[in-house]
Symmetry: C2
Subunit: 317 residues, 2 copies
């Protein structure tokens, strides 16, 4: 790794993850050759023990979550990830055995998603474990999906199901049943929705990480539109349905890492065909409206009336 | 910034630092167009409060150090930096006033070095402040300087002066005099040696961050050679000379961020001309020898005999 050599054993653990351009993690920088007709999309996320993952989460799932939350950003941009950087600030209590499992989880997901480690840095900290991943992805020139492209009349679509991860976190805290462990799994190992070619289909996209309602607010604000979510249309897993959790809680909970898409009605069939090809479920959950002042999100109940959410039916961002 | 919105005020502070490709720090990723004939060199470093900087170092200098230790990696690769990413794990005690000064320091160095912020992530931590910078730089295809290219017969050159930063750290701890503050300044704000075109001149390069002897070991190991350093030739500042510190301590201290170069004698004049053009001092300090087993560094005293260093005259890495 570039930088300090405080944790040679970690560098040894990570070297098997390195690929072309990493220079064996032994130089001052990695080298990436350009790709004609493509732009580089670069995304970075930091996750902190006790904030983004639990201290006793399995090390392998912590590594996979780190990688996957960044892969999800690539999916939201319509970009194909190929390489990444790992920065570790490590407390003394995290021993070599922990990092062996951590690296095993990373190796499994590198194979699955076709990415390779390009570089990073390891250092010590007296505080909680802090992990940063920075992902590089290729996107055809001019084809990146943005948050600011939603247009009045677009339908709003979501991949997968919403609310499982927030229930999984509750289950890990003993506040929710999770008989088959599926909710916990969704919290620990999100599923980045890579593989769809959405240029020419979606006007706007983002990955839902802060909660569906809040992230709808991001699209509404950046695009200068209003958004309604039809609560009864939001797809829920069988486990979430049988949890009895209020819909408002599921719509406000975080860590879903599903793609939220603004798609004109004329492209609905194209979206469904592309999603079917990629093996990803998509559901229409709402609509984009004109907004005198942008940034408004309203959740409608089954009767069409605004739903009272924990922070009020209208969310202002 | 991409990722969580825990610290909107930080995002506001950092938005003025953003430039082309950052998408106003409001999307899931930054976008970087390719540059024909160039490769992208990417370097990343993490610095942690109380390990890489002192808790009461001025916020502006912490920002500049973060940026400069990465710019120094670019210099070592012979690459021209243009953009960077910032990840912050922030303890509650670091308030907005601290981050205003931090961003001011970054803004000053962005102007000086011609780089722009492209993205990042901010989150909270219950531990010390953890800062990660990831820098992007262009280098002409095939012209990147590596650590593994030193050849038997090369001379070893160093930029600037050695040992000031380690004395500056000692001064901040009350263990060394620093009448004009120059040693402290070198510890807090290193000087990345950008601006020389060293392709075709240097066979190998790295930036000295772990201490001159240890970093010579990195070149020796990666290149499969032995290295001798002539202690009397190592350039020292007036402040370091008058400190009375033993030479062994200066050669082993870290945070110099000078460039260490392996240059064939036939290119010495070209190196000196290029350094003069860039306004950077360079000094010949040693030589590259054949090594049956690579990785050996010997420091020679003024009498030509091996010098006893704190960890022994021969360093094995």
């Amino acid at each position: 790794m570039t930088g300090g050599g405080e944790f040679d054993f970690i560098a040894r653990l990570f070297q098997p993850l390195a690929g072309e351009g990493a220079l064996d993690l032994r130089d001052d920088a990695a080298l990436v050759a350009g790709r004609a007709g493509y732009e580089l999309a670069i995304s970075t996320d930091t996750i902190v023990e006790s904030t983004h993952f639990l201290p006793d989460d399995p090390a392998g799932s912590v590594g996979r979550k780190l990688l996957r939350v960044n892969l999800s950003d690539c999916a939201a941009m319509g970009a194909e990830p190929f390489g990444w950087f790992l920065n570790v600030a490590r407390p003394p209590a995290r021993d070599e055995a922990w990092f062996i499992d951590f690296a095993d989880g990373l190796a499994a997901d590198q194979r699955r998603f076709g990415v390779r480690l390009l570089g990073g840095d390891t250092t010590g900290t007296s505080g909680p474990l802090v992990l940063t991943a920075t992902i590089l992805a290729w996107v055809r020139h001019g084809e990146a999906l943005r948050r600011n492209g939603a247009r009045v009349g677009d339908d709003l679509w979501i991949t997968g199901t919403i609310g499982d991860a927030t229930l999984g976190l509750a289950a890990l805290r003993g506040a929710c049943a999770d008989p088959d462990g599926s909710l916990t799994q969704r919290y620990r190992v999100p599923e980045p929705r890579l593989g769809m070619r959405l240029h020419g289909i979606a006007h706007a996209a983002l990955d839902v990480s802060d909660g569906l309602v809040q992230d709808c607010g991001h699209i509404a604000r950046e695009s200068g539109v209003a958004i309604t979510i039809e609560a009864a249309s939001v797809p829920l897993s069988a486990a979430a349905r049988s949890s009895g959790a209020a819909i408002g809680r599921l719509l406000a909970g975080g860590d879903d890492y599903e793609l939220l898409l603004a798609v004109p009605p004329s492209r609905a069939a194209a979206l469904q065909a592309e999603a079917a090809r990629a093996g990803i479920a998509v559901t229409r959950i709402g609509r984009v409206w004109e907004a005198a002042a942008g940034g408004r999100v309203m959740v409608l109940g089954a009767d069409g009336a605004p739903l009272a959410l924990p922070r009020g039916g209208w969310q202002h961002f």
